[in-house]
Symmetry: C2
Subunit: 284 residues, 2 copies
């Protein structure tokens, strides 16, 4: 009975509930000023933007609206990356729903949505940074006028260069795990959705295991930005140790939260994977 | 930015997150077959029914739809009572929103919604019991044809007697704490909303304290139905002891969950109070 938008909301809620997800806020852990209930309010507040994603209008504006609604709580940025990942997935899933076309929510279907983005979508994406503080890296050499921290002020530069939202994602795909999904057919998202569907037991437990596998496979770009590359490599190494039974997930979770090492991009991927899995029949 | 329906959803989520709420599923406790994630799915699944509540159509049909969506998860009944309590509150809050009339979400405004219910609303209420197993008591002597377990089969009896949904609530107000709110201007709901607004700290902590105060004030009718009157009186006495600092809330929560003593009606009232408080400016 749940709609596409309902499943997107539920994916955000199940993601933050999954525990342990070392370094993240989860059902059993808060960060000092970013708590579980901020993610609840973020999930619910994003609703009107998620609804716009399934309508025919500009995807960038829908994303901006979702971020604005998500930010209507006191914890700050809870799900910027997850919403950016969900935007094309939600739109593709709706094509699926409308046409009865099973290929909508697939690497090809989502890539079609990405390819259809416009320069105005890119402008809206930049505007979204005005609603909430998001951790970002400095832009590449010579691209200062495209610094996302400029928000809507970057519009002239975007228009002059004719950059679509897909182009913008392409520019940061090597330093941002969400952007990498946009340009790579959402490969890791779909792969992790498969893990969730093949796994057994309560969904939050599956989410925890999928998170650990994703983190063990690749360094988390959010940790690179907010902590360091060494910390990101350590988190990946130790996630692998948890999967190999050489380290305890609960203890690693406590330690990483204490050290402020937060694999947020891996959490975003987990949310996207949960959404795909829910649309493909994962039962809660 | 959140809509009336968004706040109703968030109220359901914040309720189940509040901890400790002795005997309930909460952020830190599950029941054997009824887990936290079932409440997440129930909250999200209820959305289409909550949306109908703010539209002009029959309130009973909206409630039935919310229950049907809520039940689309594997835990069984998560929020039947909370949705029954929310139905007139959500509709009254929407009057508020539409008319800019500050009195919509008030005891008088909600009582107007209750008074406007029809016989067909009562029929839909009965049909809602077909979607999920709800703990109920035997009907009063001579009212077997109005047993809610008959579901839609009770329609002829309801129509013959000309019973509106308000009349049906009146019949069980002395054995059901949610029905008592319907016929009594939602007195406890509004009172607890005031506690939430006057309290300090994270909202889930406030929800826990409001729950304990509600339970300390009156025996929980769900415990009377599913355990016994003695268990209900014990839960109330011990909630008071927690508030008086004579007993530890966390330990009581563990014990009541273990004994299967679940003050579900008090949780319903807490959800209703959270909704009212959110509409009145409670920030998350």
């Amino acid at each position: 009975m749940r709609s596409v938008v309902d499943d997107a909301t539920l994916a955000l809620l199940l993601e933050v509930t999954g525990t342990p997800k070392p370094g993240n806020v989860d059902r059993h852990r808060d960060h000092p000023d970013l708590r579980f209930e901020h993610f609840l309010a973020g999930s619910v507040g994003a609703r009107s933007g998620l609804s716009l994603m399934i309508e025919g209008g500009p995807l960038g504006a829908a994303f901006e609206r979702s971020v604005e609604g998500m930010a209507d709580q006191r914890g700050g940025n809870t799900q910027f990356g997850a919403l950016l990942l969900l935007a094309p997935l939600v739109r593709a899933a709706n094509v699926d729903e409308v046409d009865g076309n099973e290929d909508g929510l697939s690497p090809a279907g989502v890539s079609d949505v990405v390819a259809a983005t416009t320069v105005e979508d890119a402008v809206s994406f930049y505007r979204a940074f005005e609603h909430v503080d998001v951790a970002v890296e400095d832009p590449p050499e010579g691209l200062d006028d495209l610094d996302v921290r400029r928000g809507g002020d970057a519009a002239p530069a975007l228009r002059e260069r004719g950059l679509t939202l897909a182009d913008v994602m392409d520019l940061s795909a090597d330093v941002d795990g969400v952007a990498a999904e946009w340009v790579g057919g959402f490969e890791r998202t779909f792969e992790a959705a498969g893990w969730l569907l093949d796994d057994d037991g309560p969904v939050p437990d599956r989410a925890s295991r999928a998170f650990l596998r994703l983190l063990a496979d690749e360094v988390d770009t959010f940790v690179v930005k907010t902590s360091s590359r060494e910390a990101a490599e350590e988190a990946t190494r130790r996630a692998r140790a948890v999967l190999d039974g050489e380290e305890h997930g609960e203890e690693l979770a406590n330690e990483l939260v204490e050290r402020g090492i937060n694999p947020g991009t891996t959490a975003d991927l987990t949310a996207g994977a949960l959404f795909v899995a829910l649309r493909r029949g994962l039962e809660v």
